[in-house]
């Protein structure tokens, strides 16, 4: 009878009048402490343990160490021994634990009751949930329609992708749609160099880093690794090791910290790149020996190709005159000159391009123009240039021969139209998926599994996306917290957070050396959540037949050590002890030394789990040939294959200069008077385009540099604001052809007078209690338009502003 909780105890005090008779202020404090929970349950002995693992909130996968006190995760920090992040982390990373303990985590598999989107769910068992997906899949395959199954995946884990592809291949569906948004860059390299994977920029050794909208200090590439290098290049004393320059329409934090910046009109980055090539020619700064040895089409067209066409050199001279470039991009000739000279006269310059610059109609052309600029300074296959991307030697099961049903399924056109409605080298077209599904083209989809992507929120043309999902027989969404897409799905499956599951992560973003991080759980999955890979293995087993045979017995975690065994057997690399260790080990390895490592796969795995990462040296001497392997090849300024493919796609001969002319599409677009402003979207390292589960610390920091919390804002040039009588902090209606949103005005000279900019990531309607209703989603302003050649969404539109009465 005497078991009283602390709260009851305090109530007893109150009842007894003890509190009332004590001095007022002090007792109020005391009460506040109990009611507000500042008194906590007694803890254990306070035993501390650190687990090295990976942050998986963005594809960069920084190494982190999670602090457990009495086995409860209570903190995390960057892992100093991580060869990439070296102890650094972005702000979102620090809120990593909050995803783990998010109060709105999906706890059990849920089945929809009532109409789609009605929001009524019933908890079911995993068996029931998996069977609900597997049953139609078995039927579809039996009916000879295995292609009616598609998986939409975020694609930030190569191993997850491998298993998705493997099982889908055995089952017979070509439809793994990865929404990574880097297709223009990938196919540009595929056409110009014939490589399957784009090479990686060796920015650590570059002495001039020119970013075309590449937000290297914010969200693009591997931001933490890039920021580490940025810091390293600016030692407290002595000269700077690298100059940073930025080209783009919005003066982002990266631009603001650059030593040189050139503003260009939205979408004209590629034109400026070719303008810079022109300056290299004028100033005789082009790397002629490199161009002569490793490229074709620069000085003259190769024999046998479209005879009579201009050489690249002549083409740039005649079509990208500086006055012309200046007119199209809006950048003064003197600025272009200054940048071109500085770039060309550096020892090891490199040019990078970010997804923002590639998300227009001219993505492919822009990517190719930037590659051409890199080629012109010989920034390929040398230190500080583009070098072959790391490809760690993991042990993966060999390919399987598909059966007859699977072969027929795999031969059918992809549901997203990639490679058919686009250039043939395009592999994924998330933007094409929505349009095709809605039109039930080229065939109806029976089952769609969505993992790590939230199309309803992230993709433009949201009505179309919802319509598209409605046309699918069964939509199953896997996630930690149910999002907008889950709301209109049929099944929601609880995913274990990255702190509860295993993974081996080669870097997905271009890293110029081989390294692998290990993600290991810091605690058992909460509730009934499961790792996505385990769910996938179980689904494959339940489908049965070749799909079941494609996965190993046992759990994903049980399989991983065998994949890691390849690292040890390769005879290269070592368990990482940090960036310095990586450098020393690399230095020794190049000279034929190998640190005595663990001997057996088991000891290797033990050490791997203790350290959290494995790293091999980069190849010491670089050569452009490392991109080509055994092939005798050159970088093509006029890729013959592209011309042929484009001609086939257009169904009519394309001009000889169709390749680079594309850079001009954006510049030519006329500005209708009623919507005079271009809308620019940008990402921040707190919101990450809404892909991280937004938790209070991060939402409060949504605009931490702008002094804005829990809200969206629209950046307006002071001149535009003056004209429209908008003042800082005003509520402003941003209106496009497809919708309108209200946002807070931020007046700053970071956008040109003809444009406004808004951050992506907020405006969630169903994404947990914290994020719901916070800010607005600028993607609702953008119509669903995709670039025909690359199949990527065009994230641009025009808007007008109106001030709301207070």
């Amino acid at each position: 009878m005497c078991a009283v909780s602390r709260r009851e105890f305090m109530s007893t005090l109150v009842a007894a009048g003890v509190v009332a008779s004590s001095s007022g202020w002090f007792t109020r404090r005391l009460l506040a402490m109990t009611n507000e929970g500042t008194l906590r349950a007694p803890r254990g002995p306070g035993v501390e343990r650190w687990v090295p693992t990976l942050c998986r909130l963005c594809p960069a996968a920084c190494g982190i160490r999670v602090r457990l006190v009495d086995e409860l995760p209570v903190g995390l920090e960057g892992d100093r021994t991580s060869p990439l992040s070296g102890g650094g982390l972005c702000p979102a990373g620090f809120a990593g634990l909050h995803e783990l303990v998010h109060p709105d985590r999906v706890r059990t598999p849920l089945r929809r009751e009532g109409a789609r989107g009605s929001g009524r769910w019933t908890a079911i068992s995993w068996d029931e949930a998996l069977e609900q997906i597997a049953a139609p899949l078995r039927a579809a395959r039996a009916a000879g329609r295995p292609q009616a199954f598609a998986v939409l995946e975020r694609g930030d884990s190569p191993l997850t992708r491998y298993w998705l592809e493997r099982v889908l291949g055995a089952y017979g569906s070509p439809n793994l749609i990865v929404d990574a948004g880097s297709e223009p860059w990938r196919i540009a390299w595929a056409y110009m160099a014939g490589v399957a994977r784009p090479p990686a920029p060796d920015i650590a050794n570059a002495d001039f880093i020119l970013s075309f909208g590449h937000e290297m200090l914010e969200t693009d590439g591997h931001p933490v690794w890039q920021t580490k290098n940025w810091g390293r290049s600016r030692a407290p004393s002595g000269p700077r090791q690298a100059t940073a320059a930025y080209v783009g329409p919005r003066m982002s934090p990266t631009a603001s910290h650059a030593d040189l910046r050139v503003a260009v009109l939205p979408g004209t980055e590629g034109i400026l790149a070719l303008g810079l090539v022109h300056i290299l020619l004028l100033e005789d700064l082009a790397q002629r020996p490199f161009l002569d040895r490793w490229t074709s089409g620069f000085r003259e067209r190769p024999k046998g190709s479209n005879a009579g066409g201009e050489s690249f050199e002549a083409y740039v001279r005649s079509h990208f005159g500086l006055e012309e470039v200046s007119r199209l991009t809006g950048a003064p000739v003197s600025e272009i000159f200054r940048l071109g000279r500085a770039f060309g006269s550096s020892r090891q310059p490199i040019a990078l391009v970010g997804p923002g610059a590639l998300a227009g109609e001219s993505g492919l052309a822009t990517a190719m123009a930037v590659i051409a600029l890199n080629l012109a300074v010989g920034a390929v296959g040398r230190a500080g240039g583009y070098v072959a991307a790391g490809d760690p030697p993991l042990d993966l099961p060999g390919p399987r021969e598909p059966d007859a049903t699977a072969k027929r399924g795999l031969a059918s056109a992809r549901i997203d139209g990639a490679g058919v409605a686009t250039l043939p080298l395009v592999r994924h077209s998330a933007a094409g998926l929505a349009a095709n599904l809605a039109a039930r083209r080229p065939y109806p989809l029976e089952v769609l599994l969505v993992h790590g992507v939230n199309p309803v929120h992230e993709w433009p043309g949201q009505n179309l996306v919802e319509e598209a999902l409605a046309a699918v027989g069964l939509v199953a969404v896997v996630g930690t917290v149910a999002d907008e897409t889950a709301r209109v799905a049929d099944l929601i499956l609880p995913e274990a957070s990255f702190l509860e599951s295993w993974q081996i992560l080669p870097p997905v973003t271009g890293i110029p050396f081989d390294c692998v991080g290990l993600q290991q759980p810091v605690l058992e999955p909460l509730y009934q959540s499961r790792a996505f890979e385990d769910l996938w293995f179980d689904l494959a087993r339940r489908i049965g037949g070749p799909a079941a045979a494609a996965v190993p017995a046992g759990s994903y975690a049980a399989w991983l050590p065998s994949a890691a065994a390849g690292l040890e057997r390769s005879g290269r690399g070592s368990i990482s002890g940090g960036p310095l260790h990586a450098r020393i080990a690399g230095f020794m390895e190049e000279r034929g030394w190998k640190a005595p490592g663990p001997q057996t796969p088991q000891t290797f795995w033990d050490e791997f789990t203790r350290s959290g990462s494995w790293v091999a040296s980069s190849r010491g001497e670089h050569s452009p040939s490392e991109l080509f392997g055994d092939r005798e090849a050159r970088f093509e300024f006029w890729p013959q294959r592209l011309l042929a493919d484009a001609q086939q796609l257009e169904g009519a001969p394309v001009g000889d200069d169709a390749v680079y002319k594309g850079t001009r599409q954006a510049a030519g677009a006329a500005a209708p008077n009623e919507r005079p402003l271009e809308l620019l979207l940008f990402d921040t390292n707190t919101l990450w385009a809404g892909r991280t589960v937004l938790t209070p610390v991060i939402l409060e920091m949504s605009g931490f540099r702008e002094d804005i919390g829990w809200d969206s804002w629209v950046e307006i040039h002071p001149e535009t604001a003056r004209r429209l009588r908008i003042q800082a902090g005003d509520r402003v209606r941003v209106e496009s052809a497809t919708g309108s949103v209200l946002a807070r005005a931020r007046i700053a000279p970071v956008v040109p007078p003809g444009a406004v900019a808004m951050p992506r990531g907020l405006g969630h309607r169903h994404f947990g209690r914290f994020a719901d209703g916070v800010g607005v989603n600028p993607l609702s302003l953008i119509p669903s338009v995709r670039d025909r050649w690359t199949g990527t969404a065009v994230l641009r539109t025009r808007v007008r502003l109106a001030r709301m009465q207070a």
Binding site: C2, T12, L13, R40, A41, P42, G44, P45, G46
Partner: protein, 159 residues
């Protein structure tokens, strides 16, 4: 002390404990404090021992006592004994047993008093640091005359 007084008023004997634990019996059998409160030597908290700690000695029947049967039942059920902690450190205090016990070589009794003579389990806070005047007890050692080894800077202990 106000709290304790009120506690007594509201519920005369404090909170009931699951087992009629006898400290004296253990001490008389030469079981040192750290045998059961092992983390006092190595960690911040001294903690109440898990039933598995009890089992180390009480695996075989030592006494024909209903209390000892409770240990075996608790082990079998896997749920533990369910001691009710009667003292929680204030969250704004950094106190480490290791610092006092192992590094400072301070006897348990210096702070906890005559626990060795106690024959019943604690139903009220066992520490001189409980209640509102708790810091006074700290200051018995943490004063200027002992400052060579007992810090007197507020932030040595407050957090």
């Amino acid at each position: 002390m106000v709290m304790v007084a009120a506690g007594v008023a509201g519920c005369a004997r404090g909170v009931p404990q699951p087992l009629a634990f006898n400290h004296r019996l253990h001490a008389d059998n030469s079981v040192p404090c750290l045998t059961c409160h092992a983390t006092a030597a190595t960690g911040q908290g001294a903690t109440l021992p898990a039933v598995t700690v009890c089992r180390r000695c009480h695996e075989d029947v030592l006494y024909e006592s209903p209390e000892e049967v409770k240990i075996r039942l608790a082990v079998e059920s896997g749920r533990g004994l369910g001691w009710v902690p009667v003292f929680a450190l204030r969250p704004y205090v950094y106190f480490s047993h290791r610092r006092h016990v192992t590094l400072g070589k301070i006897a348990c009794a210096s702070c906890h008093g005559d626990v060795e003579r106690r024959t019943t389990p604690f139903r009220l806070a066992a520490s001189p640091f409980s209640g509102l005047g708790g810091m006074k007890a700290c200051l018995r050692c943490h004063d200027e005359s002992h400052s060579a080894y007992a810090g007197v800077d507020c932030v040595d202990c407050h957090r």
